[in-house]
Amino acid sequence: MIRAALPCIFLLVACSGDKDTDDTSSGADDTSEPTTDSGPDDTESTDSTPPTDDTGGDSGTTSDGITCDDVARANCVFIKAGDTSGLLDAANLLDDDSAIVLDGGTWAMNNALTIRSVTGITVIGQGMGETVLDFSEVANQVNGVDVIADDFHIEGLTILEAPKDALRIEDSSDIVIRGVEATWVNEDDSSNGAYGLYPVRVQRVLMEDNVASNASDAGIYVGQCQHAIVRNNTARGNVAGLEIENTQFGDVYGNLVEDNTAGLVVFDLPGNPVIGRDVHVHDNVIQDNNRANFAPGGVVAEVPAGTGTFTMASRRVVITGNTYANNNTADIAVLSGLVIEEDPSQWYTVTEDIVGDITDLELFADEDGVYNFRTSDVWVHGNSHSGSGTSADMSSFTERPFGFLIGVLYGAETIDTVLYDSIGESAHHPTDPAQNSNDNRICVGDDDGVSFASLNVEELLTQPLPDIDTVYRPEAPFTPFDCAGFEVIAPDLEAE
């Protein structure tokens, strides 16, 4: 039978221009599952600061919870606990400049929460773990929260068991994702949804104080975006913890990325018109990322467990001030895109499709377009390293050849903390610094705990048994990889 009974549509606009109605003021008190500020039971996922920016400086959220009074939008509707069809009707009949405030409690969703064709929308709950959108009964292939809208903010709620992506925001601008949890109940389950928090083709996005776990691809996935600040989030139990993909101008700091297959990664995919550049990865904790890869497929299934960070087909990336610990394969790998796609033509984009200004980037190009497989201008310095590189992921030669190669190469030896595939270098020599080129300008700082290896992967793959003695493993300062580095261009979240 139809499961979309709606008692009365008029609840939708109950707060619209009329903030002192019973619905809005009584709020959380009316619910069967009242929101409380439970101290002792709080996990760290609920420790994040209550959302405040939308309230016009009024951060005095009381124990009564968030109401329409706390949200600076012209229109507002408060949806009582569990009124799923009221929520969906509200989302489908929004005016510009509106807020939906969600009561505490669990919402048994039967379809995605979608936002379309409107500008200036806030969806705000009573906090992660307090307001839970539960998609476990959805029988159709939809995302949890699915948005195409400029000036969209989502805060303070949990998105549980979404069939596809938990939160997908596509082709939009000026997005804030704050205090949102995206998770699935089962660990290591390849049938979990793909991405937790997924802004894709977004201009100007701020993601902070979020938690993403158990995604079968990436927990936090910033894809094809321009100007992204990603800070103070937690990603754990995912295949990839935090991904910055084909993204321009990213500032990624203060995040805790642990217990994923791979931790915090920066890369471009082939043939994408957003050429990644200027990503600053600093002051994150990236540890214990050794979870066996449980991705059902795709490029992410090729990632070896035990990877702290890799940057691949990337340019202008600075990795500094991070704490790396106990990532069993390697803390940091600097890789050419040709590692995953060896055909350069697949990395080609015609000039007219290119997004953003890339004229200052030194990409391989012909008169009609550019290739983005090359990794260049990567500066790794000032990170701390401990306990990593003890056992590479050798679980599958066919699926994860890079992990297998590293494992065979190093044998019982501890794997170097910073690995460079050397693809695209004009000269390589196992011992003589003067006979190694640094054409791609990979700069590695001489810090405590850092060891560096220029692998010359193309040569290794021709050897019957990869020989560690053919690898260039210089003593500090790693000449010629001891270059001075550069400043990344910071993201600018001010709307144009």
Binding site: R3, L88, L93, G193, S216, G271, G298, Q346
Partner: protein, 377 residues
Amino acid sequence: MIPLLLMFACEGEKQTTDSETTTTDSATTGETGDGTDTAPVDGLALYGLLGWDGLDFTYADGVVPYELATPLFSDYALKKRALLLPEGTSFAYTGADEVFEMPLGTRILKSFLYPADLRAPEENLRVVETRVLTLEEDGWEAEPWVWNADSTDASFAPSGATEEIEVIGLDGEPLVIQYLVPQKNQCIDCHELVIEEERTIVPIGPKARHLNRGYDHGAGEVNQLEHLAELGWLTGLPELAEVPRATDARALEGVAVSALDAETLDAAARDYLDINCAHCHNPRASEGVSSQLFLDRATTEPFDLGVCKRPGSAGGGTGGLTFDIVPGEHTQSILWYRMDTEVLGEMMPDLGRSVRHDYGVELVAAWINGLEGSCGE
């Protein structure tokens, strides 16, 4: 969904004024759009345009039913389409592949219904939903309407609905369909193009190439385009011989895919992909741009069609495969895998398919197997 009666039930309560005007004004007035003057069908909603007599739809005067040559698959639902132009208006023939530019106030009605047994599509019918597209000042507006269990009336349902529907399948076995009436915002997912940086909602079906076929309005079969021209709705129609014609699915009914010659197979498969996939997978739709996979009729570059192309963000939808299409090997092709699978989170299309369309899967498999080349791995 929102029973119309509740409009009155809630009358007198406070806080109701806004919503009445924003959500139900046109439904209550019975008006049919700018300047049209149609007789409402007694006792029925949907702007008085559409009723159901238990066997077939009853349309108000002036509403013209039509069919598409290659219809979009929607969980084996039967579909009935109809068009209404405001009196005295018309639209011009602008080519075979573009959706007609309809006049303001145009309405398109698309109803979805199920027979108890898919092998007997004329019997024991139940209407599930009707989607209403109306061309307003700021573009097409899409509305889902859900019918009651007796198929006697429909109600505007902005949040759509979900329903488990059980029918007898084409193979004679029970078939359980997780039917989704899209919520209003989900209509956009299949109907939105980005044209000159503006998001624009467009209908999918009403292109000349899809309408160029016969329809019996009661006095024998006539060509639908000629019928629209006779009504004065369509101007500038060239000689029919000059109008391209999409593969007529009716002509292929009962013909085994294996019996199709190469040319017919290519045309049928490309038309199938065009109507079923290209509303998202085209260079002007968000999902098309994100995935860089373009399955519209106008795309000819093999890589853009998915040949030896790695998926952008297919998640679990790859089935462990590497390329969207591997020529000659449908079982190695993600495109085929996502059409074939019934695993939630891996299927394509996203909406409107909870079960496999056996014929479409077979058709696309044969087409892939007929492609030449290899992906070098």
